[in-house]
């Protein structure tokens, strides 16, 4: 589970885990018999806590029910969320691996179907000058735009996740507090889950040979922080919180708006609630 809740800095983690290891050995050498064992186990737990990774000492996952809200009417397509997510979670810095991404929907005058694009579109890659930087090209500047909006996308952390259903080894699971996670130390890398997700939210980490996905920054939310994408959103288009807390931002968001979910007919029961999306949104 630790893998899914990686702290921002791998270097720091490596250093601290070495520190923990050193403490373990010190304990083992210094102590004798039961004393040694006791020191070893305390060093281990200290190491885990010291790296600030899950399990957070006083976090009780039965007391929370996390959910996410997206107000598409507010999104300005600045893509800070995408960059923050990539940095926070160490997602591959190219235009084909995303834990979260933003889609642009544009209706041109006289057209009934929206034109949709995102960061992997060659025009957008060219505009940013690199696959590692994300920007929406000003490609419709000469056209008459009738309606246009952005839709942030991420894992829907479904109540009935098809990705969890198909995992042959149980490496991916839904936590008590409503987050779908992957145990990177147990995933065999078969990519069945990538196929099963109808939202295209799962990706494959070729470097590690395992599937990957949005965790709602589980390593942050279990410490009372916001997911990185929510934290950096300058317009409040992304809302996160605990549904068990009736005054939380997400509870208010769901209560005060008429919210929608993506592909409700799939039976997956998503937990990312949208406001201001359109029939064309997939």
């Amino acid at each position: 589970m630790n893998d899914t809740t990686k702290p921002p800095s791998d270097a720091r983690r490596a250093f601290l885990s070495q520190l923990g290891l050193a403490a373990t050995y010190t304990g083992a050498v210094a102590g004798l018999g039961a004393l040694g064992v006791a020191q070893e186990s305390s060093a281990k737990s200290k190491s885990s806590a010291a790296t600030e990774s899950f399990p957070t000492p006083d976090y009780d996952w039965t007391k929370h029910q996390w959910a996410f809200g997206v107000d598409a009417t507010k999104c300005i397509g600045c893509l800070r969320c995408v960059e923050a997510c990539k940095r926070e979670n160490g997602v591959a810095g190219d235009a084909h691996h995303f834990r979260t991404w933003v889609e642009r929907y544009v209706y041109l005058e006289g057209e009934t179907r929206a034109r949709v694009d995102s960061h992997h579109d060659p025009v957008n890659i060219e505009a940013s000058g690199s696959e590692g930087e994300y920007r929406f090209a000003n490609r419709y500047k000469d056209a008459k735009v009738e309606k246009a909006f952005f839709v942030p996308k991420l894992c829907n952390h479904c109540t009935h996740p098809p990705c969890v259903q198909v995992c042959p080894v149980g490496a991916t699971y839904r936590t008590e507090d409503g987050v779908v996670l992957i145990d990177h130390d147990y995933c065999i890398g078969c990519r069945y889950c990538v196929q099963a997700c109808p939202y295209g939210a799962r990706l494959f980490n070729e470097e590690q040979g395992v599937s990957d996905k949005c965790t709602w920054c589980y390593h942050r939310i279990t410490k009372g922080l916001q997911p990185a994408c929510v934290e950096v959103c300058p317009v409040g288009a992304r809302v996160f919180g605990d549904l068990n807390d009736k005054q939380s931002p997400i509870s208010l968001f769901v209560r005060n708006n008429r919210v929608q979910v993506l592909r409700p007919e799939s039976g997956n029961a998503p937990n990312v609630f949208y406001v201001g999306i359109d029939k064309e949104v997939v």
Binding site: S130, C190, L203
Partner: protein
């Protein structure tokens, strides 16, 4: 502008993560090989279980073919896995809601069953070689005999009971194994191209025709190499089986495609665009026309005209080769096709296989050839054409 990864080109709108095709050509090879296993086993069972005497010349060859293919089946999966060393996790902690969780057990069970049946079938030969063969191979057969040299009437009748029982269990096992692979695809609601109740059946029937076709080709080729005449009733029998099962396969595929189009659910426009575009060559031309209509017409013509002799051998072998190709294309069109139609229902991805590499075309081709290499070795050690040593089917069927 730098390109960081080898991503598939696309048209329309596809999710950014979809530009990395998750299942490559190796996953095309995987159901193809499994299908050959099931098909070859079916032919073997026609003799071992149903006592169809005309299939006797290929019964043992079919069993060996099935075994050789089955031994290679896990290879594409292992090559494909991000962590092949964790492959056994699915057997240690199977996650039962996954259609894939039982693969390890099913495949393991089936390999054991095939080895056992092959052992019983070849026991008279093994014993004979263990006693009279040349060293050092003799030691090999002595080891294989497991110390039992008893070829008495009683022992042989006991063996035949085992062969019959294993073959009977093997039929649902082989077909179940392959049908379930169809379920692996058919049960996924995320992909409209796969999501079909008929998928297991389509896989199963195409498996039977591919296995039968493979046997036809191998049998005719082996007769050429051994310079012995082809047993025409046997070849005709396999041609009939091929013809009959092809009818079912085409019917099922037709019904599946028709219902997909007729239901016309969300995303059907892009599916039709795909069918009329990229699928035109691989499906309509290669799989349907070249691989199905031509062999079916040719087979029908030969059956109608009562073709015999060399013309029959040439005709049936040609048909079988085309069918083998058609089924490979069918696997391609299902596995790759499903992933080329984007989940957005608004775009198409263009899978471009690499030549080399772990998941490249060369690796895939090697895996398709590997069972044939194994088989050429197996027929040296266990000649499937030793008629005098084969148990009689009459008692099997009783």
């Amino acid at each position: 502008m730098e390109t960081l990864v080898h991503a598939a080109p696309f048209t329309g709108y596809v999710y950014p993560n979809e530009t990395i095709i998750p299942w490559t050509v190796l996953i095309v090879v995987y159901p193809y090989l499994t299908g050959l296993v099931a098909g070859a086993f079916t032919v073997s069972s026609m003799y071992q279980v149903f006592g169809m005497e005309r299939f006797k010349p290929v019964a043992h060859l079919a069993l060996l073919t099935s075994l050789c293919c089955m031994l290679v089946v896990p290879m594409p999966l292992l090559l494909h896995l991000g962590h092949p060393e964790r492959a056994l996790n699915s057997m240690i902690t199977p996650h039962w809601t996954s259609a894939f969780a039982i693969f390890g057990y099913a495949a393991g069970f089936y390999v054991i069953l095939l080895i056992l049946e092959t052992w019983f079938v070849y026991r008279p030969f093994i014993v004979q070689q263990a006693q009279a063969g040349k060293r050092p191979l003799r030691w090999f057969y002595q080891l294989l005999s497991l110390g039992s040299y008893d070829l008495s009437q009683k022992a042989m009748s006991y063996d035949r009971k085992w062969i019959f029982t294993l073959a009977v269990i093997g039929i649902p096992a082989a077909h179940g194994l392959h049908g379930y692979i169809g379920f692996v695809f058919g049960s996924l609601k995320a992909r409209e191209w796969w999501s079909s109740d008929l998928m297991p059946l389509v896989f199963l029937f195409s498996a039977i025709i591919s296995g039968t076709a493979l046997l036809i080709v191998i049998y005719v080729l082996s007769c050429r190499l051994r310079k012995v005449p082809v047993d025409l009733p046997c070849l005709k029998g396999m041609a009939y089986a091929l013809w009959g099962f092809m009818m079912f396969t085409l019917l099922l595929e037709g019904v599946e495609f028709a219902s997909l189009v007729y239901r016309g659910r969300e995303g059907i426009e892009i599916i039709m665009e795909y069918v009329r575009g990229p699928l035109l060559i691989t499906f309509f031309v290669l799989q349907f026309c070249v691989g199905s209509v031509i062999p079916l017409t040719l087979l029908s013509y030969m059956i109608w005209r009562g073709t015999s002799g060399r013309a029959l051998v040439a005709g049936v072998t040609t048909c079988a080769t085309l069918v083998l190709f058609a089924v490979l294309m069918m696997r391609w069109n299902v596995v790759i096709g499903g992933q080329e139609i984007a989940k957005t229902g608004k775009g198409l991805v263009d899978y471009q296989p690499t030549i080399g590499g772990r998941e490249g075309l060369l690796a895939a081709a090697s895996l398709v050839v590997m069972p044939l290499i194994l088989l050429s070795l197996a027929v040296k050690l266990f000649p499937p054409w030793e008629k005098r040593l084969t148990p009689s089917p009459e008692t099997n069927a009783s």
